[in-house]
């Protein structure tokens, strides 16, 4: 029997629409391909199109048969963009829909354990971004920053900053996925740009004098609180991996 490969557009709505189609056709694939992944010519493939209506029905079904927490669990894991994550999520979703009681806490099921592992990784990345965002004050009264998270965590971090900085206008831009979130007092909105608009915004010419002065004070602070006699570069890099240094003020010379 040849493999059955299902393809979808890579979005969460697309994934849920695909689940809808699978149940409708009662065909379950061996592999699920997101956008841009090569499809093997010798296997049967099926393609699914995004339907908001179908996606909503599937999401509602998941919540009805389990609960909101489980739906959020699935969404967060999906955002990890890990290879093969869709098949693992399908495994969990089939458990939920097949009505044998959902098994999100079944740590004797290796796939469930693996999903928890990925969830933890996504959670860690969210936590990292809560920590590593460095806002810079621009001359037009905006607080801007760039980040490069390992996973697509932008949809998960906005609320934290909205709760914390409700009276500021701010923008956080993911330079890996080229989109960001913007807040100006009411709702968090997704934004996309062509080119390097945010990078220009936080360049030397565009930030305030106070900004420069607080950046040097922050660097001074970072230097002064270190206990040189106890330097431990390995531990330091474990906590602040090199790939994040690019946007950390205190790691710039």
């Amino acid at each position: 029997m040849s493999d059955i490969i299902a393809a979808y557009n890579g979005s969460f709505e697309g994934f849920l629409s695909l689940i809808f189609d699978l149940y409708k056709r009662k065909v379950f694939p061996n592999k699920i391909c997101g956008k841009g992944e090569p499809v093997d010519l010798f296997s049967k493939s099926m393609e699914s199109y995004v339907s908001d209506e179908n996606a909503t029905r599937v999401l509602k079904g998941i919540i009805d048969k389990s609960n909101k927490r489980t739906a959020k669990f699935i969404y967060e894991i999906f955002l990890s963009e890990q290879d093969g994550i869709e098949m693992k999520l399908l495994h969990l979703i089939r458990y939920i829909f097949d009505g044998q009681g959902y098994r999100i806490s079944d740590f004797s099921d290796p796939i469930i354990v693996d999903l928890h592992r990925v969830k933890k990784m996504v959670g860690r990345e969210v936590h990292r971004m809560h920590a590593f965002v460095r806002f810079q004050e621009t001359k037009d009264n905006m607080w801007a920053c760039e980040i490069n998270p390992d996973f697509n965590v932008m949809p998960l971090i906005g609320k934290h900053f909205k709760d914390r900085y409700p009276a500021m206008e701010w923008v956080i831009f993911d330079t890996v996925r080229q989109y960001g979130i913007h807040y100006a007092g009411s709702k968090i909105e997704y934004i996309t740009f062509e080119g390097d608009i945010i990078e220009k915004r936080i360049s030397d010419e565009s930030t305030t004098d106070a900004e420069k002065s607080y950046q040097s004070m922050w660097k001074q602070y970072f230097k002064s609180v270190n206990i040189k006699e106890r330097n431990n570069e390995k531990l330091h890099q474990q906590h602040v991996p090199k790939r994040y240094w690019k946007y950390l003020i205190e790691k710039q010379n």
């Binding site: 098994r103 806490s105 079944d106 740590f107 004797s108 099921d109 290796p110 354990v113 693996d114 592992r117 936590h127 809560h130 920590a131 590593f132 965002v133 460095r134 806002f135 810079q136 004050e137 607080w143 920053c145 900053f161 709760d163 914390r164 900085y165 409700p166 009276a167 500021m168 106070a210 002065s213 607080y214 040097s216 004070m217 922050w218 001074q220 602070y221 970072f222 230097k223 002064s224 609180v225 270190n226 206990i227 040189k228 006699e229 106890r230 330097n231 431990n232 570069e233 390995k234 531990l235 330091h236 474990q238 906590h239 602040v240 950390l248 003020i249 205190e250």
Partner: protein
């Protein structure tokens, strides 16, 4: 003539860094509509310094001028260091501006003692009050409670701070007298006792009325300097255990002594092994989260923690008769006693085993440190025979890799 803020920052953060408390956790403070900041129960470390320590708060002294001459302290009167003092506004501005840039979770403010304890405490309180009432700041504030400050002042500090701490510094009265003749245990323990009651009262009041003020909602903590005086780990942990029970402290911090400069009153000590500090924290965790009592961790026969092995492994080696533990039937507290099993993996074991019998591969997936745990458990499909090995083989395997002997049984002839 006056120093620039950045110069003061360099001096007064350098002087504050030996206070190891870094937590921004344990308090939840919601933001207001147009306010700035909030406190999350879990705390956030915004960065880590090259020595591997977390930077969560703007940790500074208001001033390093001090009328005391405590030998362990870099800011002692007789030490020849550059002195500086922030103004109230400078501290407020720094806090707000660092916070807006998401550098920090809040402020940790301590101070040298100038003029009198109350005078100093009043300045610290004024800063916290200004941040809360004028700047609408809802981030985290940790204030030092200055020993000797009046109860009214401590109460007011509690109104604005998330956490208060009084440092005991030396782990015994004798050592304290030796290095800080002006100080006594009583000076630190009295404000702690007062705050314990004030915090407890405020919790009761708030149950009656949500309008009652919160007093230091994140509780209080203290710090002990380790390695500058001769106390053994048993004395240190007994003191911590006592503070956790009688003063309801949230945390005791252990600060390995870094010889700051020569002072003849201090016994010459080698640089305190970082590993000792680490073992003390592990032992502290066992007391707070794993249900261990002090005498299970250290006792007269073993007054010091084993530097080569974590305290739970050391406990297990002294109590081999309690093992192996069957992970499919043992209760939560028994699971926590297994080396290599943490709070999270114990909880996962409890929920996982409702679905099927736990086997070796499940345990590994759950996050159990198999290297250590394998000696001490039974699970489905595995009968433990490792415990029958000679004891030195087991304990050798529990040590960190770099300390393990390759062939512990082989005799060295030459």
């Amino acid at each position: 003539m006056g120093l620039q803020t950045i110069e003061k920052l360099a001096i007064l953060s350098d002087a504050a860094k030996y206070d190891v408390s870094c937590a921004s956790s344990g308090s939840t403070r919601k933001n207001t509509k147009y306010g700035l900041g909030n406190s999350k129960n879990m705390g956030i470390c915004h960065t880590y310094t090259p020595d591997g320590r977390c930077v969560s708060l703007l940790k500074i002294l208001l001033t390093n001028f001090c009328i005391f001459d405590c030998a362990y302290c870099v800011s002692r009167k007789s030490n020849d260091v550059k002195r500086a003092a922030f103004t109230v506004d400078e501290v407020v501005e720094l806090t707000i501006n660092f916070y807006k840039r998401n550098y920090i979770e809040g402020l940790f403010l301590s101070s040298g003692i100038f003029k009198s304890p109350d005078y100093t405490m009043e300045r610290l309180v004024r800063i916290a009050k200004k941040l809360r009432t004028e700047e609408n700041f809802n981030g985290y504030i940790h204030l030092k409670a200055i020993p000797g400050a009046s109860e009214e002042m401590l109460y007011e500090a509690g109104l604005y701070a998330d956490r208060l701490s009084v440092n005991i510094e030396m782990p015994s009265e004798e050592s304290l007298k030796l290095v800080a003749p002006e100080k006594s245990f009583k000076d630190a323990l009295e404000p702690m006792a007062y705050l314990k009651d004030a915090i407890a009262d405020s919790k009761i009041e708030r149950r009656k009325s949500k309008k009652a003020p919160k007093i230091s909602p994140g509780g209080q903590s203290t710090q002990l300097v380790i390695g500058a005086s001769p106390e053994n780990d048993k004395q240190i942990l007994e003191l911590s255990g006592d503070l956790y029970t009688t003063k309801k402290l949230k945390r005791v911090y252990y600060s390995g002594y870094v010889p700051i400069s020569e002072d003849s009153r201090l016994p010459t000590v080698d640089k305190t092994p970082v590993i000792r500090e680490n073992r003390l924290y592990q032992a502290d965790w066992l007391m707070r989260f794993y249900g261990f009592s002090v005498d299970e961790i250290v006792n007269d026969e073993h007054p010091d923690l084993d530097l080569e092995m974590d305290p739970k492994s050391a406990y297990a080696m002294r109590n081999l008769h309690l093992f192996p533990i069957d992970v499919n039937t043992a209760d939560y507290h028994q699971l926590l006693r297994i080396p290599g099993v943490g709070v999270k993996s114990a909880k996962k074991m409890i929920s996982g085993r409702r679905f099927s019998k736990l086997r070796e591969e499940h345990l590994k997936k759950i996050g159990v440190i198999w290297k250590r745990a394998r000696f001490f458990i039974n699970c489905a499909g595995l009968t433990n025979t490792l415990l029958a090995q000679p004891i030195n083989l087991i304990s050798n395997s529990l040590k960190p890799a770099r300390l393990q002997k390759k062939n512990p049984n082989q005799l060295t002839l030459f």
